[in-house]
């Protein structure tokens, strides 16, 4: 409830900020014991630890920079950061109203353009009255550790929960989220009417769709042990609902959500739902059933839990509008939210990091924080899964297809709902079995790594995302186990190859961060791994981190001087960073006949480019003619030569060249495009090395399982 504070609310709004990170589908580590919320008590969240920490540094801020303020107070909406929000009144008194707000920030757009290890984010929520005055605001700035947070941001995002205490007035809630480093921003206005403190008023909130209940991860900021639990602002709904501002709803299923309304027609159960397309056209109108009615903290307000069958439309963005009659029968109330229609079979599995802060104290910079437990309990390996998994492994050396199918069946059966606890149990079980194998024959673990690599590919093709994520996890766990237990240099190389192979398969939008993490893990095991070195270097190049690319390419070229692509990339990045003679010498080597044609073409183009920029056209002409002899018909070299001839005032010769260009002379990709693709030759070599090792690993596995079986029989 709004506190009868002596602090003037018009001057300063107390805010409770809740920070969440919406994670991609990849589990953290096992949860520690937690106290699950019950229906009989408010959804109080009891402290717990255990999840991997994403380092978050927060700092309070009073106000925003002038430019940001202009954006907030203008009528503008938009910007490259994907932002959506909702607001619900949760308390009402004569002194004003408490608004609970949720802001979702799209992680990928937040990460775009980020360079360096930190991501400073600022969020400002302002309640602005029609006169342009600010009734209340909250601004929070924090910094994320990119290396740790990025994996969850790609495909996920950041969720802010907070409350604003506002004096009576009518407001528009405007939200600005800014990447402080790049300046990229998103600014929106929360749709729908906000209640005033004036009587009488009626409203219906936006539909409150809970984030999937399948996973909560925990976070605790160091030094916050023992802090008191915070009562969730929406605890009056009887559950610790963390609503989504742009929920994902599977079509063709029964959908359940809450709405909070005031001034509803007494005893009314007449609630209907409309689905609108992105242009506002009605696609469906469905009656909804009210299954629960609860009192809300706002006086005379009611929370309704409704359910209805959501029709299945093509996946995409739609609007869900809930309406119900008010006390004035001529005036219906409605609240809406945009949502994404998902396919019915889409598995859940978003993971929410939650961090709550107590209400801001009077002291600047003091932000005690509490962490909360989700629904997971202590997780252990399942003896049944261990036994079944071990049993299926016996077939692996002789009938790999059957073994793979059996493991796939086991894994699917072990993850019926995709909840974190199920997942952790499966991981622990399969890892326990692997440890048993490793105790007998450490070199046999490679066979399991290869098994899960095949499974990962299979799941990816079938678009079984949850199982695919599990397979990725197993590859990583088992590769590290293999390297640790076997201890030989060859084991580290093979383990690194397996991780690099996985990284290569994930080099696409949505999994880039996980891909890079796999390559880096490969380098932890084998610092000279060519596939990993060149892949991470290529990633650095793509984000403009040329110096960091050099730190990877130099040792690679030193260890593998025959690697043409690595030398070419080294040459180009040396030119970017140092612009010196060394780049020229490296490029000259790349023009040699032992290099692949595309490498030669790019090398000649880059050499010519620097001569053209220096207006040394005669020299450029000689070089380009040599290049076209080495790489006949290359379009880039032809264009450059035509340009040079133009500059030498020989337009007819240039014209003759230009006329010859084009017509698709059997070229699939240009050499420059080939350069911009992910490096593939070293990855191919890594895969080949794994393939060559398979037979030996399978034999080791057979021996290990045989020995383990005898030992078990002897023990009995």
């Amino acid at each position: 409830m709004v506190s009868a504070s002596s602090r003037p609310l018009a001057v300063r709004a107390a805010a409770t900020i809740v920070l969440c990170l919406l994670a991609a589908v990849h589990a953290g580590r096992a949860q520690e014991p937690a106290k699950a919320p019950t229906a009989a008590q408010p959804a109080a969240l009891s402290p717990t630890p255990a999840a991997p920490q994403v380092v978050i540094h927060t700092r309070r801020r009073l106000g925003v920079p002038a430019r940001a303020a202009a954006l907030l107070l203008s009528g503008q909406q938009g910007g490259p950061l994907g932002v959506s929000a909702l607001a619900v009144p949760v308390a009402l008194a004569a002194s004003g109203v408490r608004l609970f707000f949720v802001v979702d920030v799209d992680g990928s757009s937040l990460l775009a353009g980020v360079e360096g290890p930190v991501l400073p984010v600022e969020i400002a929520v302002y309640a602005v009255n029609p006169q342009g005055g600010v009734g209340g605001s909250v601004t929070e700035a924090f910094t994320l550790d990119v290396d740790r947070a990025a994996e969850y941001l790609v495909g996920g995002g950041i969720k802010f929960l907070g409350t604003l205490d506002l004096p009576p007035a009518r407001y528009a809630l405007r939200v600005l989220v800014r990447n402080e480093k790049t300046g990229r921003f998103g600014v929106i206005e929360v749709p729908g009417a906000l209640p005033t403190g004036e009587e009488p008023f009626a409203f219906l909130s936006a539909p409150l769709v809970a984030e999937p209940a399948s996973a909560w991860l925990l976070a605790r900021e160091a030094g916050t042990e023992g802090a008191a639990a915070e009562v969730h602002p929406l605890s009056f709904l009887g559950e610790a609902t963390v609503p989504s501002t742009a929920p994902v709803l599977p079509g063709g299923t029964v959908t359940r959500l809450w709405v909070v309304g005031r001034g509803l027609a007494p005893g009314s159960t007449n609630v209907s739902v409309r689905v609108l397309d992105i242009g506002g056209r009605e696609l469906a109108k469905i009656p909804a059933a009210v299954v629960v009615r609860r009192e809300a903290p706002v006086a005379n307000a009611t929370a309704l839990r409704i359910e209805f069958p959501l029709p299945a439309f093509a996946p995409g963005q739609y609007t869900l509008e809930v309406s119900t009659p008010s006390m004035n029968p001529d005036i219906p109330l409605w609240g809406s939210t945009r949502f994404l229609m998902a396919e019915k079979s889409a598995a859940g599995g978003s993971q929410v990091w939650v961090r709550f802060a107590l209400p801001a104290s009077q002291e600047q910079g003091v932000r005690p924080a509490v962490a909360f437990v989700g629904k997971a309990g202590r997780v252990k390996a399942s003896p049944k899964i261990v036994a079944t998994y071990t049993s299926t492994l016996r077939a692996l050396p002789t009938d790999p297809a059957a073994a793979q199918a059996a493991v796939a069946e086991l894994e699917a059966a072990s993850l019926p709902t995709g909840k974190v606890a199920e997942w952790e149990t499966l991981v622990l079980s399969e890892t326990e079995a692997a440890n048993t194998v490793a105790a007998v024959r450490p070199d046999a673990v490679l066979a399991l790594v290869l098994l899960h690599s095949d499974l990962q590919r299979s799941y990816s093709l079938r678009k079984s995302y949850l199982l695919e994520a599990h397979a990725r996890r197993m590859i990583e766990e088992l590769a590290v186990l293999y390297a640790e237990k076997d201890k030989s240099p060859q084991a580290k190389i093979m383990a690194a190859n397996a991780l690099a192979n996985l990284g290569g398969s994930l080099q696409q939008p949505g999994t880039m961060v996980t891909s890079e993490r796999m390559f880096r893990r490969a380098l932890e095991l084998d610092p000279d791994n060519p596939a990993a070195l060149i892949a991470v270097a290529a990633t650095m190049e793509r984000i403009g981190q040329y110096k960091r690319a050099l730190t990877l390419l130099e040792p690679l070229v030193k260890a593998h001087p025959e690697n043409s692509e690595a030398r070419l990339r080294l040459a180009i990045n040396v030119a970017r960073v140092f612009s010196d003679r060394r780049s020229h010498d490296l490029l000259q080597v790349c023009t040699g006949p032992t290099n692949p044609e595309w490498v030669r073409a790019v090398a000649y183009q880059e050499l010519a480019s620097s001569l053209i920029q220096a207006e040394r056209f005669e020299q450029a002409e000689g070089l380009l003619r040599a290049g076209l002899t080495a790489v006949p018909g290359d379009e880039g070299l032809t264009m450059q030569l035509a340009y040079v001839l133009d500059r030498e005032r020989r337009p007819l010769e240039a014209q003759a060249l230009a006329k010859d260009v084009g017509g698709g002379k059997g070229v699939d990709v240009s050499p420059r495009f080939r350069y911009s693709e992910w490096p593939s030759e070293d990855l191919a070599r890594a895969r080949e090395a794994l393939k060559t090792s398979k037979a030996t690993a399978d034999q080791a596995l057979a021996a290990a399982l045989g020995a383990a079986g005898k030992a078990a029989g002897g023990a009995k």
Binding site: S109, G113, R184, Y643, R647, G662, G663
Partner: protein, 394 residues
């Protein structure tokens, strides 16, 4: 079955000594006019019996044959200014032949051509509407700081030679490419007989490039099998288009459809700017824009990760390209939805049909390759003019 029968009986049906007549007339190209490039060759054949075959020869080389009406083919003559000899032989079902020949002349070069004639193509608008009633005396041209006498003036449907550059990189996948090709088709469909267009579809390399032609069907045929893939070599292909326009006479136009993000060119946009200035072609840019792009001041920052270039480079490239379009007297039409591409193409065509041409002989040329600024003004207030901002004084 019937034709051979008739052919066999024919000699017995006609009066003795009479031979079936086959009259062949070449209706295209027209007599007395020089012929270049892709030319439609059409004939009329009048015969008392069905025509079995019509064979076409150009310069004694067989270039095609047709066995059913309409008797028409398209022949490629090349760009040289030479005479061409067209010969057409029609053969009837009975084997009787008739033929026609046509000699097209070369253009006689027997007069002095003033190469320092400058031609400015000017668009005029008032309150967003095109202004089409201006007269020669309404205009004022200032070249190199001096007023110039306008010696030639025309308005309206002046033939042009255009290169249409369509980006078919992976970013154009789906609806954007479909709309782009449809838009290009609409542009081609709006051609007049004396217009010439060359279509280049490109990604990080050239996918297809047609010859210059005034036959829309030749151009449209190349649009059939295009799919979006690969990167974007915009600068390279803009250079290519400008270069190939050099040899075309009259009004030269480049229509570029792209999002302006060059990722794979060997040439830089600033190198192409030199060519743009040299060529004096009008450049029209239909710019596909992502509405989520940040606008900070006047600079657009595409959200990209690229092995070749960084944000700063992209910003400079867009700025330079924008400058090149502006300098040329062309326009940038921003489109945010694929459905806007077709109208953008049509808008360019309409503008080309309504332009004024002002010709003058600049004074005090130095021929030193320096940039000469040109300004066009009009007496009527409220009228906004768009014209080339200068040229390289070679």
């Amino acid at each position: 079955m019937i034709a051979p029968l008739i052919a066999a009986l024919l000699p017995f049906l006609l009066p003795a000594g009479a031979t079936p007549q086959v009259a062949v007339t070449i209706t295209s190209p027209p007599a007395g006019y020089a012929a270049f490039g892709q030319v439609s060759v059409a004939v009329e054949v009048k015969a008392a019996e069905p025509v079995r075959r019509v064979v076409f020869f150009v310069d004694d080389r067989q270039v095609g044959s047709v066995s059913a009406p309409p008797f028409k083919i398209v022949a490629s003559l090349g760009d040289e200014n030479v005479e061409h000899r067209f010969r057409v032989v029609a053969t009837t079902a009975s084997g009787v032949t008739g033929e026609a020949t046509l000699l097209t002349p070369r253009i006689a070069v027997d007069q002095e051509v003033r190469f320092d004639l400058q031609q400015l193509y000017v668009s005029a608008r008032e309150n967003g509407q095109r202004v089409t009633d201006l007269k020669r005396e309404d205009f004022k041209v200032i070249d190199g700081g001096e007023d110039q006498e306008i010696t030639a003036f025309a308005r309206g449907d002046i033939p042009f030679a255009a290169v249409v550059l369509v980006d078919s990189s992976i970013s154009m996948q789906g609806e954007p490419l479909t709309a782009a090709l449809a838009g290009a088709q609409a542009f081609l469909g709006g051609m007049r007989p004396l217009d010439e267009v060359k279509l280049i579809v490109y990604c990080d390399h050239t996918i297809t490039a047609t010859p210059f032609t005034s036959v829309p069907e030749v151009l449209e045929a190349s649009l059939g099998s295009v799919t979006a893939h690969g990167g974007t070599a915009l600068a390279d292909h803009l250079y290519l288009g400008l270069k190939l326009l050099e040899q075309r006479q009259g009004r030269r136009v480049v229509v570029l459809l792209s999002d302006g993000v060059d990722s794979h060119s060997a040439l830089s946009v600033s190198e192409v700017l030199f060519k743009a200035r040299q060529s004096q072609a009008l450049i029209y840019w239909i710019r596909l824009e992502d509405p989520k792009q940040v606008v900070e001041g006047e600079e657009e920052l595409p959200p990209l990760f690229s092995a070749w270039h960084d944000k700063v480079w992209y910003r400079e490239t867009v700025r330079t390209l924008r400058g090149a379009v502006q300098e040329s007297g062309g326009t940038i039409t921003k489109v945010h939805q694929p459905s806007e591409i077709g109208p953008a193409f049509r808008g360019i065509l309409e503008e080309l049909r309504e332009q004024y041409v002002l010709g003058y002989y600049p004074r005090d040329l130095r021929h030193d390759g320096s940039w000469r600024k040109v300004k066009v003004k009009v007496e009527r207030s409220g009228v906004r003019l768009l014209a080339r901002e200068g040229y390289l004084d070679f």
